[in-house]
Symmetry: C2
Subunit: 188 residues, 2 copies
């Protein structure tokens, strides 16, 4: 097996899919994102990169508040739609039922099983994107997606984006327990 | 269906798994990460959050260089191991074959199908973590994992970490084409 340098300088990995919510001019707007990650455990921070041209960015900066909503695979069409059109021309809030939580101005999507609302902590200015770092101040889950009070990923049925295939994929089989299956290699 | 606020302030989503490589005191060291994302398209930047206590961080800061290596599901045990033990006590470089590319000091894992090497652009200091933002300067793929010259995710067979289940999962079925399946909702 030989390594070859490939032309693209992207990194390919399963990218989680979510919808970022913010009020823009007092109206709920949602943008599809695949470039986000948890970045700090306590306090819980997440970071999301969004192209500077996006309408949603202005709402995040105006309010200092946003939400991240995790959709199920059966919502893939709506999620894709929210990445295809701009809130400047389309009322993306209209295709979902919006609810508000503790922060009062972070619109969240009711049909997404899992939602968090965030207070903007820091914005990192990158060449094309703004990287919004937010503190998660509250998390919500639909009770139908809980097992013993905890979110159940199998019930939530989230999906990822894979490139360069431009394809959404749901989750497959269990390949082992984390912080567990590697133990057998210790001191080997 | 009722939304309930859950105790945890984490966000749950499928987290991609990778190994970050850096030379520490001239020796290759690897750390398992699940908190990373692309953050800018051109130039291609990625960001990876790593707890400040990690041994690998010192190598990234000393050299200004690191790698990100995407493993296959059949490497899950080794990936888990690299998240269980510290390079301060264990020689994690010993369980892989390391190769170097263009930057010469970014150790990469040969058996990982896909690898990128990064130049450190910015470090964002968070309460518990350092968020390293790196520019991807070269990407490598094993030729056995290419289809028509492009990385083939089905062949690469990457995996994700899901919480709170503490479980690794591979990818499941195609749930639709990205920038495609949402088109039918435009102007509906």
């Amino acid at each position: 097996m030989a390594k070859v340098q490939i032309g693209s300088d992207r990194i390919y990995y399963p990218m989680p899919c979510a919808l970022v919510g913010a009020n823009v001019e007092k109206k709920a707007n949602y943008l599809t994102v695949a470039w986000f990650s948890m970045v700090n455990p306590e306090p819980a921070y997440l970071a999301v990169a969004m192209n500077k041209a996006h309408f949603t960015n202005s709402g995040i900066k105006a309010n200092g508040i946003f939400s991240v909503n995790i959709p199920s695979a059966n919502m893939a069409e709506k999620v894709d739609y929210c990445g295809l059109v701009s809130g400047r021309k389309f009322d993306k809030g209209a295709i979902f039922e919006t609810f508000y939580g503790k922060l009062e101005t972070a619109p969240m999507i009711k049909e997404c099983p899992f939602n968090v609302e965030c207070k903007l902590i820091q914005t990192v200015n990158l060449p094309a994107e703004e990287l919004f770092i937010g503190e998660i101040v509250a998390a919500y889950c639909d009770e139908n997606f809980l097992t013993d009070g905890a979110p159940d990923i199998t019930k939530i049925d989230p999906f990822v984006l894979i490139m360069p295939e431009r394809q959404y994929r749901d989750l497959g089989k269990n390949v082992g327990g984390a912080w567990e299956i590697g133990k057998k290699l210790i001191n080997k």
